[in-house]
Amino acid sequence: MKRYVTLWNLILLSVLAVLFFLVIYPMLSIFFASFLDPEEGKFSLENYEKIFRLPFYLRCLRNSLWVSFLATLLSLAIGVPFGFFTSRYVLPGKSLLKTLATLPLILPTFIGAEAWILLLGRNGWLSNLAKTVGISLPSIYGWQGIVLVFTLHFFPFVFLMVEAALHSIDKSLEESAANLGASPWHVFRSVTLPIILPSILAGALVVFYMSIENFGVPQLIGEDYRVLAVQAYNEFISEMGGNPSMAGALSMILIVVTLFLTFGQKYWVERKNYAMSSLRPPEVKKVSPFSTLCMSVFCFSIVFLALAPFLVVLVSSVTRTEGPVMYFGQLSLKNLGQAIRIAPRPIFNSFFLSTVATLIGIVFGLAVSYLVVRKKGPATYVLDLLMILPLIVAGTVLGIALASTYNKGRIVLTGTWMILVLAYFIRKVPFSVKTTSSILQQIDASVEEASINLGVPPVRSFLKVVVPVMLPGIAAGAIMMWVTTLAELSSTIVLYYGPWATMTVQIFQYIGSGDFGPASAYGTILIVSVIAPLFLLHRFLGREFSPNL
């Protein structure tokens, strides 16, 4: 009596096919390629043997783990108190503070790196300033710089998770602990902390992913400090002695590390998930002026440290430059004008590719969230797990996998703009899936059944009743997807070709050649394009921006 060929089963099948062709199959093919001898194409463990024998590769692995681990630790050290202060205490200018604190997430990390080069690089403005009074500031280059930039960009993941978790604890819990005689610190340690721990760890894991897969920052300021994501890219593009199967092997190691952590976290969280239907969120307390001042100073300094470098980029874009030399204080619109009027192609490319990827992402995200939330079953459970893949595969790795899989045979995509769209779409679609499925979860299934019961067929019911209610959430997810795609560098750098260079590629190359003027001009356009839609979202939909991972 059961029908197997239903519309939703077909959709499930196509969704799985998309994941297969855009993630699983390319990853498998570089996995198998990593076992091939680079010269003769026979089975060999040479690549792996090299990685574990040659100190160079081992160092890359160790470096990747080290900077990611440190960045995660520092993000926790900043994000947990930040989230606790802003959600539990009355602080002046709090809503501004919270809005500003989420901005680093969507601002491109490699522009952050550029900004720090402008400040603390070899010819950095701050370094030079300090030199005139005889102080030598630490340089931004090396692992310390990478960790600094990662931390300032990624701590909001922890902050947002902690804040959300703190809001979903019913206030009676902490009150009853206090009533039983626990001091405030003891209440925090014995009740609050254990409850929000799964959220804290989820945030920490995202910071780790983002750090280990990041390509732009270590490439720009790592110098001799090589990490895996950079080395995989170098092995792939290097014209002399380049070794794509070596790139595959390095990628596999990156994936194993992240998969291991992901499943560890999933296993742990599933046993410690204290879901609560909170009726009364905890009170926001007013504390003494001194404590308020201390907390405000902490929060605003962090936000200042994370955002101020971007002001340097904005200033640089309207500063007269000659090659790498900046004449701060001398206004010039030359670079901006050049970017907008003479070479607008990268701007168009970025907008076009992001828009197409986002449109596909909206439809795909809607289908996946519906399947995962409403059509629970073994197949959709697998689908839910598979949706983690695009998140944990480093951008350069996915780029390499797609480029080497679709460069010959029946489907040739390498060297077209389509491959960029597909890469963007699959990398960023988890944003869309997460936002749509979390809002779908709040709409009871019976609302849809009521519509069907009243005579409207299932798919039309979904479109007439569910989609309208979800619309603000879908819009928020789409905007998130669009802005993060706009700022995407790591897969672009592998997949783009000549005419389809994006703003990010352009900026990256200008920084590489020391042309900070044009780099800042495109950087400014990118920053504005990324912040403006979020401002509109906030203004017209009254929604807090949240990356919802």
């Binding site: 009596m1 019976s446 059944e449 009243l454 005579g455 409207v456 299932p458």
Partner: protein, 361 residues
């Protein structure tokens, strides 16, 4: 519309939600599925609506077999437990939703929605959104929305469970009134036996995917077929006695319980040696001194005594180790017993009921 269910079976994994259910609901009948949570009653309702597909069995509306009909073509009107109102539509548009799906012209929609809202006394609120309504008002909108399409069968899934106690009583009278006014065949699901008795023409007692008994509220209450039905339909004292004699002329059964002689009227002689009898708390009377030598006069120790005003409710220990619940209506202040005191009680041999299938299920 007459509804007939034949041998409906539905499993979820290893759990048998419905196990060969047969039902006949007559045209215009208010039929209630009553049972504990997880007994399969909601599943059966969803089978009728088409949201759950049974592995086996047939569903008929009148003479039409409707197994193959998808939910949106079954013409049932369902009221959901959480009302399931469309949050983005006004009260009017919520009620009009099913009519628009049927491509009915605007003028008729207006008049029919108007009538439906009149019926549930909500005409004044037609431009409100669901979030601006109280629970009881949302409930009425849900009812109007289900009725306005003139469904073949009205399906209600625990519609009152989200309302507070007072409103629940008012709404159930309202539902009963509307159902009789429209004479619409209704299948109603609840776990509240009092609610079921108050609204239904017929009740089916559900347990673990099976129907234990079907009957009118009075049949179910006064003639439960087994222990489960007896216990589920009200407070019950179930006493197991040894059969010692039966006199067919007076239909009087004589039994023994720990040396006490108990008389019960029974139409026919039970076949088993052990007989389970049901004694509802309100059938037990307080004996006042002087204690005459009448049949079925016993005494017990008061374990708990709960005074609620119009009634005092005792739990007593009698017949050595049997715990009985006794309810005394309109108690006099001086006769309310305290814990530990002795209570003399008796019951008319006509009142207890022999449970045909008395063994534990």
């Amino acid at each position: 519309m007459r509804v007939r269910l034949k041998d409906i079976t539905k499993t979820y994994g290893s759990l048998k939600a419905l196990d060969g259910v047969n039902l006949l609901i007559e045209e215009g009948d208010f039929f209630t599925l009553l049972g504990p949570s997880g007994c399969g009653k909601t599943t059966l309702l969803r089978v009728v609506a088409g949201f759950a597909v049974p592995e086996r069995g047939e569903i008929f509306f009148g003479d039409q077999r409707i197994n193959h009909l998808p939910p949106h073509r079954r013409e049932t009107g369902m009221v959901f437990q959480n009302y399931a109102l469309f949050p983005h539509l006004t009260v009017f548009d919520n009620v009009a939703y099913g009519l628009k799906a049927r491509k009915i012209d605007a003028a008729e929609i207006r008049s029919r929605v108007g009538q439906a809202l009149d019926l549930v006394q909500l005409s004044a609120l037609s431009q409100r959104y669901p979030t601006q309504l109280s629970g009881g008002q949302q409930q009425r909108v849900a009812l109007a929305r289900a009725l306005v399409i003139r469904p073949r069968v009205l399906l209600m899934d625990e519609p009152l469970s989200n309302l507070d106690a007072k409103l629940r009583v008012a709404m159930r009278d309202e539902i009963r009134r509307i159902q009789k006014e429209l004479a619409i065949t209704t299948l109603y699901v609840t776990h509240d036996q009092e609610e079921a008795m108050a609204v239904s023409d017929h009740i089916a007692i559900f347990n673990q995917g099976r129907i234990e008994q079907i009957g009118t509220p009075s049949e179910i209450y006064f003639r439960p077929r087994n222990r489960f039905v007896a216990e589920f339909t009200g407070t019950s004292n179930l006493i197991e006695i040894d059969l010692t004699g039966y006199e067919s002329a007076s239909s009087l059964l004589e039994g023994d319980l720990k040396g006490h002689r108990i008389f019960v009227r029974a139409v026919r002689k039970p076949s088993e040696k052990k007989v389970t009898i049901l004694l509802r708390p309100e059938w037990i009377k307080i004996a006042k001194p002087p204690y005459e030598d009448r049949a079925n006069l016993f005494s017990g120790q008061v374990i708990t005594s709960t005074f609620v005003g119009f009634m005092v409710k005792y739990r007593i220990r009698a017949f050595d180790d049997q715990i009985l619940t006794v309810e005394v209506q309109d108690p006099q202040p001086y006769e309310v017993k305290k814990e530990g005191e002795t209570l003399h009680f008796w019951f008319d041999p006509d009142r207890p009921v022999v449970i045909p299938d008395g063994s534990d299920p």
